[in-house]
Amino acid sequence: MVPGAPPPATVIADMWRGIGRENPVLVQFLGMCPTMAVTNTLANGIAMGAATTFVLVGSGLFVSLFRKYIAHEVRITSYILIIATFVTLADMILAATFPAISKALGPFMPLIVANCLLLGRAEAFAAKVAVHRAVADGLGMGLGFTLSLSLLSALRETLGHGSLLGHPLFGPRFEPWVFMVMPPGGFFALGVALLALAWIVELRRRRVRAVA
């Protein structure tokens, strides 16, 4: 075992970690820029999540595959190269399949490269474990990322446009909260999500204490 490598775990556990306890957005605050920038509609959020998942899995796979051959001194450069390749691929594929979304995501699609989450996972996890675990971890992190993005973008789209995936929810008299789809609304939505999460945790803690 490589020193400092994560302890062995089942593939399922590797996946769950990213969705729950180590959720990149809600717990680790990684990859904040796309989280804020593209979550003004649910479609964008999901697309960004999917693309990031693709890159996470792809780069995890390659980093893990080549981990024995990548020299320590150039590892960062190599990882970035791998990640950037997958981002470019994702960018092109999205542009060729969903041009509208690709346009909406604008430069934030290529910016996945700089998403701290990717390099972080590559170095802290994929570089140290076997391929199947790296892929499972990438998938889990990606799903966790997508999930949080969906949650946020659903919140923002519902209030900010009165619609979900473009379908109006409340009829014509609904007054949208433009705030929610503007920059401060992005921070605000995540803030509210975090406060709500913390509140739930707190309530549960109190209940446990009351029982004990």
């Binding site: 020193p3 400092g4 001194e73």
Partner: protein, 279 residues
């Protein structure tokens, strides 16, 4: 086109590899990577209980061989062993210590002369007329120690005494520092004979202030092994150098219960302060 692409990126790769290789030769400042690894294995509480400025300094010391892993009082034995295993050194041993309170004067047994109003901290109360408590040495019960404890090992009893959870106490010494009355001491876990009082007034005058005061009557001195306990300036003192001779018997005849034989936590019989939601 394919050739173009491969050439550009491959070429760039080559160029940067040369750069980095050169840089690597000329510029690299080497630092033992094991320090990071050991640091990542430590609890990272940065509590200072080991006597070093933070966990990373401890890690540097262990890698350099000047500190043995067991000196981290916070980490579990497993962690000691795995660090020792990783570095290929002996884990070493450390005496397990616990924080003990040298006062049992809860608000049910010790009197108050005046009502203290003001900042609800022991330090502040101590600076104001000693806090209004009859006994000037005794515990003020305002929980500075509970707040100081980073490990949540202290909880106030409903009579206003701090109860230390031996399982959670890491002997970091924060409570010793926090208590303005200096009532905490770090004692080895096997030092079980304890005078739970610091009141220097001798005789019945002390009892007017607190029912569990040490009155310096000297019974424990007679009942303990010779030299183990002595009475000086109004208080009984245990000489822990002779701890091996300590026996429960020494505490048996104390008329006030000021000296006790500990079998676990202090004040274990007291209920915790209800709704203690201090932050």
């Amino acid at each position: 086109m394919t050739f173009h692409a491969i050439a550009i990126l491959g070429g760039m790769g080559l160029i940067f590899a040369v750069f980095l290789a050169l840089a690597n030769r000329k510029l690299w400042v080497w630092e033992d990577p094991r320090i990071d690894i050991v640091a990542s294995m430590l609890p990272n509480a940065n509590c200072g209980a080991c006597g070093h400025p933070g966990c990373r300094a401890f890690a540097e010391g262990t890698v350099a061989g000047t500190i043995s892993p067991a000196e981290c009082t916070v980490a579990s034995d497993d962690v000691h062993k795995s660090i020792a295993g990783f570095l290929g050194v002996d884990a070493g041993t450390a005496v397990r210590k616990l924080a003990r309170l040298m006062c049992a004067g809860g608000n049910d047994v010790a009197i108050n002369l005046a009502e203290y109003r003001g900042l609800p901290t022991c330090a502040a109360a101590a600076a104001v007329a000693g806090g209004g408590k009859g006994c000037a040495w005794g515990c003020l019960g305002l929980a500075d120690c509970e707040r100081a404890c980073d490990f949540g090992a202290i909880e106030m009893s409903d009579t206003g005494l701090p109860m230390v959870d031996p399982a959670a106490c890491t002997a970091c010494g924060d409570c010793v520092e926090a208590c303005p009355k200096g009532l905490f001491t770090l004692l080895a876990a096997d030092h079980r004979l304890l005078v739970q009082c610091k009141n220097l007034i001798a005789g019945d005058d002390a009892l007017e202030q607190c029912r569990v005061a040490c009155t310096a009557c000297g019974k424990c001195v007679l009942d303990g092994a010779p030299g183990l306990i002595s009475v000086a300036s109004g208080i009984a003192v245990v000489n822990y150098e002779l701890n091996a001779l300590a026996e429960e018997r020494a505490a048996a005849r104390c008329p006030t219960g000021a000296i006790v034989w500990l079998t676990g936590a202090q004040f274990a019989h007291l209920p915790a302060l209800a709704g203690s939601e201090r932050q």
